[in-house]
Amino acid sequence: MQAEFSAALLDPAAPHPADILICGGADPAHRFGIYRNNVIVALIDALADSYPVVGSLVGEAFFRAMAREFCRQHPPRSPVMAEYGGDFAAFIDGFPPAGSLPYLGDVARLEWQRVVSWHAADAVSLTAEDIFHLVDDPVALMRTRWEFDTSLALVTSPFAIVSLWAAHQKESAEAIDGALTDIDWGQPESALVLRQGLEVMIMRLTPAEAIFITELRAGCTLAEAVLAAQGASPRFDLTLTFALLLRSGALLEYSIAD
């Protein structure tokens, strides 16, 4: 019975389960439709909560129609709804009606990372005091490897995803429209996503900063990461970037390579 019932929940063309009985003569299909509606609305609402900027970029009606398609094809695989919708960006990439907004999928990737960072494990970050002694020992400092907070992630795109996201944090529709007109959305951008205390921050990184953090996260030493970053841009500023990571609580531990 539940195979038949669940298949019909997500397929409006499927007949309602034959076993359904309504006393008093009401239409079983109408009653079954309540479950159909409850399910799809709950799933779409969950996506709308996770992807407010995608919703704002395409408008509510388009968003809900797109989300409905996604939910029917990809129902949740777990009752933990915080985990639902991680593959929405890939779906958007392949959703022809959204083809005129090539950045939409990457904006979704950024919003999803925001959700993931929001719920990431708590940890105690290093402070300036913890690493003060390293400043006096530049040789050791350059041999350090670093462990990052689990809420930290980079999202890199050929489009101006951070600017698009930031524009939608403004208070009024007029302010958002104003900010959007100034954006060259074809500009590549990288985002640093990180939970700081109870808030998730999204910051724009230069390409060199993104390379630096990517290398460090891959287990490279500070010297190796600096070299890679300088390869991308000779103007890479180690002090500034490192201070940003430290100040934002991105670093949990370090070790000194032999």
């Binding site: 009401a26 309540i34 479950y35 409850n38 949740p76 777990s78 009752p79 933990v80 929001w118 708590d122």
Partner: protein, 294 residues
């Protein structure tokens, strides 16, 4: 506050803990009997949900209410989900854990809704096996909530009240009596709410839920109620609640509101209406004991 035996919710009114109200609760420490959370919302590694619950939990009794175990499911229980649940319960040590007589998962997909089961011998066997498994894994007695339903099944051979009575008899679980669900289901299926309430296994009631419904209409123009949790408790549900209290004695009572969530003060005011009825009940007489229906 009323004293409560260790390990039990107080016989007071409680409300759902909503993220919108976290700060307000910490700042004002409102006088409320208990808070309730939905287990699945807290099955995340860290962040604000755990931060605030860790602050609020020591100050209030806690009820954890599961919505995703799919106890009525034809599939085996999701062992990973049961493990997550055991971890959550170990961390927050709630005074009560409850789940639903419903299914929500099938074939690996989760439908985010409480779906109805036919009341048959096969369902009974499966539900009891699932509850046994849950109670064994969690090492505690759970409460099972009667559902709000929009359809019934031709294959059903038992009344819902008979089915619940049998589940309770076989598994030893308690009944979470959702008075709004009794009313909603009775209206939707043309039954008498009062008679249905009387037929419930009332001696097993350990907690009561109250909520608001939405009014819709059937295709034939008759009244159809949706268990929306998005409105104040309706008058006929308050009346049914008063009868329920007369039959079961004072019970911990949750005011559920999961949609269109108003300010904390509005929920507290509604909870105080339940507390008035609880106090009236306490002042009248101790709970009568009821022989279980044969």
């Amino acid at each position: 506050m009323m004293a409560s035996p260790a390990g039990h919710l107080p016989t007071r009114a409680g409300i759902g803990l909503k993220p919108e109200h976290f700060r307000d609760i910490i700042d004002t420490t409102p006088d409320i009997g208990f808070f309730e959370i939905h287990a699945e919302n807290y099955m995340v590694a860290g962040g604000p949900f755990h931060h605030y619950l860790e602050l609020i939990r020591p100050r209030y009794p806690l009820s954890i209410h599961g919505v995703g175990l799919s106890i009525g499911g034809e599939d085996d229980l999701d062992a990973a989900h049961l493990d997550r649940l055991a971890l959550l319960l170990a961390r927050y040590q709630p005074e009560s854990f409850s789940e639903h007589l419903a299914w929500s998962s099938h074939g690996g997909a989760y439908y985010s809704d409480l779906l109805p089961v036919p009341y048959t011998a096969a369902t009974l066997h499966r539900v009891c096996a699932h509850i046994d498994q849950v109670q064994t894994r969690l090492r505690r007695t759970i409460l099972l909530e009667n559902p709000a339903t929009y359809v019934e099944f031709a294959s059903s051979t038992l009344a819902e009240t008979e089915f619940l009575d049998e589940v309770i008899r076989r598994t030893g679980c308690g009944l979470l009596l959702d008075v709004n669900n009794v009313y909603v289901s009775c209206v939707n299926h043309g039954r008498d709410p009062l008679a249905t309430l009387h037929a419930m296994p009332l001696s097993a009631v350990r907690q009561i839920h109250l909520a608001g419904f939405a009014e819709a209409m059937d295709d034939i123009g008759s009244r159809l109620l949706i268990d929306s949790h998005g409105a104040p408790v309706a008058d006929p549900v308050w009346e049914l609640y008063a009868v329920a209290l007369a039959l079961t004695g004072a019970q911990p009572t949750l005011l559920e509101r999961d949609n269109d969530i108003p300010p904390l003060s509005v929920l507290l005011a509604e909870a105080s209406l339940a507390e008035q009825r609880l106090r009236q009940r306490c002042a009248v007489s101790p709970a009568p004991t009821f022989a279980r229906a044969a």
